[in-house]
């Protein structure tokens, strides 16, 4: 998995951190996405894809 997070687009809604806290967090100051693990184990793929889908701002992508 290759996850990309665009902090400029991110609006800090937190859907990613809520859905896969092992992979996504939010910065203390701005609340924008922090990628904890850009290449997580395959077992997390479904959850990561769900987070990408739920992100309201289109800040996340996975390939």
């Amino acid at each position: 998995m290759d996850i990309k997070a665009d902090t400029d687009r991110c609006i800090g809604a937190g859907m990613c951190a809520l859905t896969v806290p092992e992979v996504f967090d939010q910065s203390e100051e701005e609340g924008t996405v922090v990628l904890l693990d850009a290449d997580p184990p395959a077992s997390r793929e479904t959850a990561v894809r769900k987070a990408v889908q739920l992100c309201p701002s289109g800040a996340l992508s996975v390939s």
Partner: protein, 399 residues
């Protein structure tokens, strides 16, 4: 088979069933995502009822959220005057990059992690109110005893608004959201609320405070008018939304004891049950509205620049193409992906706070009062049909 409406519709508001959107909006939805609609000011625009299309438009920056560009879906007492009165910090009604400037200042305060840190305090506030309810008279009004004060106290503490002032701002915020208010009453409520907030901002400037508003003042990023608008937006949004979800959600659960029991007895169901109640009840029921900044093709239709699109989020959240058996409350279904907090850059800033409050408050209430029941026939519960946020005015309960 019913025909697709051939003439422009108007925004339907008359509900036949307590928890379901008006019947015609669901019928139309099953015929297509977009329908020509006449807005309250006569503007010919669109009604959007489909889930996929709603998601697409909400995330599309060719559509604007600016007040002065949008038309009112239903008659609004302040129509036409509103944009002159809304303070600059009411950033909900702005576009990028203006919106981003405000949002970025606030998102750090509403992260998933921040909300987890608030859990113990929210649990304490919840159990204090349940204690008081238990000691008080039966029947009780669940709105006044539980649903309104809990989110109200939480947002006051978070923002740094004195909770002792609540009688005033709760009354004014209720008047502001009531579409049956006269223009004078609604205008006066807005003026009062802004004066109250401006005063509070000035006090925080004089005496630095360790709360959200104090932090915003200290950041030096916003002027006093902007701070007033931001604070007002957060106070109203933090109050009315969760309060209505708590009361209406409890009402829906009381009407469906099997679902209630699942939520009460199985902690593993709680998070999902909250999402399902958000989906099923969709209390933001009259909008939002966006206006096309250029011609946009959608779902086989051409939306022209300048035309407004009004969303029926309750219909979108009952779209059978997105949710199986959508008219059934099922706390075990996969309910995420609902649009109850919106989508796109304006998606609810406080959604993680609202989730945290609901995840704590519903099960705490149901466990404390296993015998909780309505104290009046369901038909006698006064519904908030003419409020911009749906719910109940009162919910008499006993146990």
């Amino acid at each position: 088979m019913t025909e697709a409406p051939s003439r422009p519709v108007t925004f339907p508001t008359a509900r036949r069933h307590l928890f379901d959107p008006p019947g015609e909006v669901l019928q139309w939805q099953r015929q297509g995502a977009l329908h020509r609609m006449t807005f309250a000011d006569g503007h010919l625009g669109w009604l959007l009822t489909g889930h996929a299309a709603a998601r697409a438009v909400l995330a599309d920056n060719r559509f604007s959220n600016r007040t002065e560009l949008t038309h009112p879906p239903v008659a609004h007492p302040l129509a036409g005057q509103e944009n002159r009165q809304l303070p600059p910090g009411f950033f909900l009604r702005t576009d990028q990059p203006e919106h981003t400037r405000f949002r970025r200042l606030l998102t750090g305060q509403f992260t998933v992690r921040r909300m987890r840190q608030l859990e113990p305090r929210i649990e304490e506030i919840t159990s204090d109110h349940l204690d008081a309810m238990e000691r008080g008279d039966r029947p009780a009004d669940l709105v006044q005893a539980f649903a309104l004060p809990i989110p109200s106290l939480v947002i006051c503490e978070l923002l740094g608004v004195p909770y002792g002032d609540r009688a005033q701002f709760q009354r004014d915020s209720a008047a502001l959201l009531n579409l049956d208010s006269s223009a004078e009453r609604m205008g006066a409520a807005l003026v009062d609320l802004m004066a109250y907030m401006r005063d509070l901002v000035l006090r925080k400037r004089a005496e630095p405070a360790d709360d959200l508003l104090g932090g915003l003042v200290a950041s030096g990023e916003l002027d006093d008018e902007e701070l007033t608008g931001v604070a007002l937006l957060l106070l109203i949004a933090g109050h009315e939304t969760t309060a209505n979800m708590l009361a209406l959600g409890t009402f829906a659960l009381l009407r469906d004891p099997a679902q209630l029991a699942l939520l009460r007895d199985d902690p593993a169901v709680v998070d999902n049950a909250v999402e399902e109640l958000l989906r099923y009840l969709t209390i933001i029921h009259m909008g939002p509205v966006r206006t096309a900044l250029e011609d946009v093709e959608l779902d086989g239709h051409l939306i022209r620049a300048g035309e407004s699109v009004a969303f029926s989020l309750p219909a979108a959240n009952r779209d059978p193409e997105r949710f199986d058996d959508p008219d059934t409350l099922d706390v075990t279904r996969p309910a995420t992906g609902h649009l109850s907090f919106g989508h796109g850059i304006h998606q609810c800033l406080g959604q993680q706070l609202a989730r945290t409050e609901m995840r704590i408050a519903y099960p705490a209430l149901l466990r404390r009062f296993p015998g909780l029941r309505l104290a009046v026939p369901a038909e006698e519960v006064p519904m908030r049909s003419h409020m911009t946020i749906y719910g109940v005015h009162r919910l008499p309960v006993t146990w």
